[in-house]
């Protein structure tokens, strides 16, 4: 038996994700009735929906059996997949990045940046990031008690942090923000390239144009950093060699693009979602002000809550049984992190936002060898922002309804209107 069509359509519908409760309700039913089963939707290759925390972990623990890069890494219809292969000369993903490669290629590419983003390696950045956080807190306080926290703080602060780490000049930040939003929010008329409702064909065309614009930008970055290497991430990528050779064009561009886009958009979404949760919970701010150690728990809970990457796809390279289901070689699987992070088997109260959990094994960053490269930096920059903001903030509440992006992949709140007072 396959998952009911209505439920299957809901969990891939970008508009449903803009009203998150609809997707959450669908996954509650899926976890209860068919936690690992197939979805069959017209126009799409059938795929398994992996909804439970434990099953997602089991699959991510076996990267030799479940590949990222053999098929599209995010849900795409058959026609879209065919067009991507035409555009890329046979590859299933427009961008060849860390999330869409496997095995030795993945290990080698990840190794270029990995030693520079470990907790120990990023510790010396703390003061510089705190300086940026203070700047954005000051900026927020100029708004005289009312601000759209998503647009005016959450989108901008992680952008400044990652661009500083990468070595992108400050004047290029608006360009990077615009192209990131085009890349991840293609279904949202407010944020996509055309600023309009697009057909699936138009969305792919738009994605391709955005990718080409990013590639044109980064071609100059390679030349710049090969001429004058620095210790910034883009310089490491530009100058990296595997087996004595520079990264090829697709690898280079994929690396720059994933670092420059996913490197801030996910953190922005989580930061905006955290403020939304805080503004709806009177008392939580003063709790953290009285006990700042709770800020780490607030960060972790906001990552679980917001889960900015809604899913990734995997494909099986051999037959294997998972949770009693027989997966066949070639099968496509959707790992739903949104569902995994609300699994009742792990959290007794998954729909409560709590900062007093004993344990919070959220899997928003993924698991295993493909776990998010920037997870420690993301945690650190969020912690620092809240430490700096909570020193100044006296009260905060919502000043109207928040609004979420229309997207089924990387997304979160796009408007978080708040009212605040300061000490």
């Amino acid at each position: 038996m396959t998952i009911a069509t209505e439920l299957a359509q809901t969990i891939i519908d970008p508009k449903a994700y803009s009203q998150r409760e609809i997707v959450d309700a669908a996954f509650v039913k899926i976890r209860a009735q068919q936690p690992l089963d197939k979805a069959e939707i017209d126009g799409f290759e059938p795929f398994w929906v992996v909804s439970r925390h434990a099953d997602i972990k089991e699959i991510e623990r076996q990267p030799d059996v479940f590949h990222n890069g053999d098929k599209s890494t995010f849900i795409t219809n058959i026609e879209g997949n065919q067009r991507v292969q035409m555009l890329t000369g046979g590859e299933p993903n427009l961008i060849r990045s860390l999330v869409s490669v496997d095995g030795l290629e993945h290990k080698n590419l990840r190794g270029v940046v990995f030693p520079h983003v470990t907790p120990r390696a990023i510790r010396p950045l703390e003061d510089a990031i705190r300086g940026i956080a203070r700047e954005f807190v000051d900026h927020m306080l100029t708004f005289d008690g009312k601000v759209d926290f998503a647009q005016d703080v959450a989108f901008l602060y992680p952008l400044r942090v990652i661009m500083t780490v990468l070595g992108v000049p400050q004047e290029d930040e608006p360009f990077m923000l615009k192209l990131t939003q085009e890349l991840f929010n293609n279904a949202d008329p407010e944020l996509n390239r055309a600023r309009a409702e697009l057909s699936p064909e138009e969305m792919l065309k738009s994605l391709w144009e955005t990718t080409m614009e990013l590639e044109n930008y980064f071609k100059a970055v390679t030349d710049k950093f090969r001429a004058n290497p620095t210790d910034q991430i883009n310089s490491l990528i530009a100058n990296a060699k595997i087996d004595g050779e520079y990264l090829n064009h697709r690898q280079l561009m994929g690396y720059y693009i994933i670092a420059a886009t996913a490197g801030h958009d996910t953190t922005s979404n989580t930061t905006a979602g955290a403020m939304w949760a805080l503004a709806e919970r009177p008392g939580m701010l003063s709790q953290m002000q009285a006990n700042p150690e709770l800020i780490n728990a607030f960060v972790e809970e906001s990552i679980r809550w917001e889960v900015p990457v809604k899913h990734f796809m995997r494909s099986a390279v051999s037959d294997i049984e998972i949770a009693g289901q027989q997966i066949r070689a070639g099968d496509w699987l959707m790992l739903s992190y949104q569902s995994g992070n609300r699994d009742e088997a792990v959290w007794a109260d998954p729909f409560d936002f709590r900062i007093d959990r004993d344990q919070n094994p959220q899997i928003a960053f993924g698991y295993g060898v493909h776990v998010c490269l920037g997870q420690h930096l993301a945690r650190m920059e969020m912690r620092i922002l809240w430490e700096e903001l909570f020193k100044r903030l006296k009260s905060v509440e919502m000043d109207g309804p928040g609004e979420r992006t229309i997207s089924n992949f990387v997304c979160g709140p796009k408007h978080v209107p708040i009212r605040f007072t300061v000490n």
Partner: protein
């Protein structure tokens, strides 16, 4: 022989197997791994590993 697990990415360090690719021989006790070692998958520090089987 005991097994330890990274709380951030799930990597398991099995003392019986060591991590030969990382220069840690089979049979190496977790305590004997240098303190500045970090998880080869996610970069977490030695203190972020939990004992899961003793």
């Amino acid at each position: 022989m005991r097994r330890w697990q990274c709380r951030y990415c799930g990597l398991i360090y099995d003392e019986a197997l060591g991590l030969p690719d990382e220069g840690i021989a089979p049979g190496t006790r977790f305590e004997d791994i240098p303190d500045d070692w970090y998880c080869p998958d996610c970069g977490s520090e030695k203190g972020d590993f939990d004992l899961i089987q003793s």
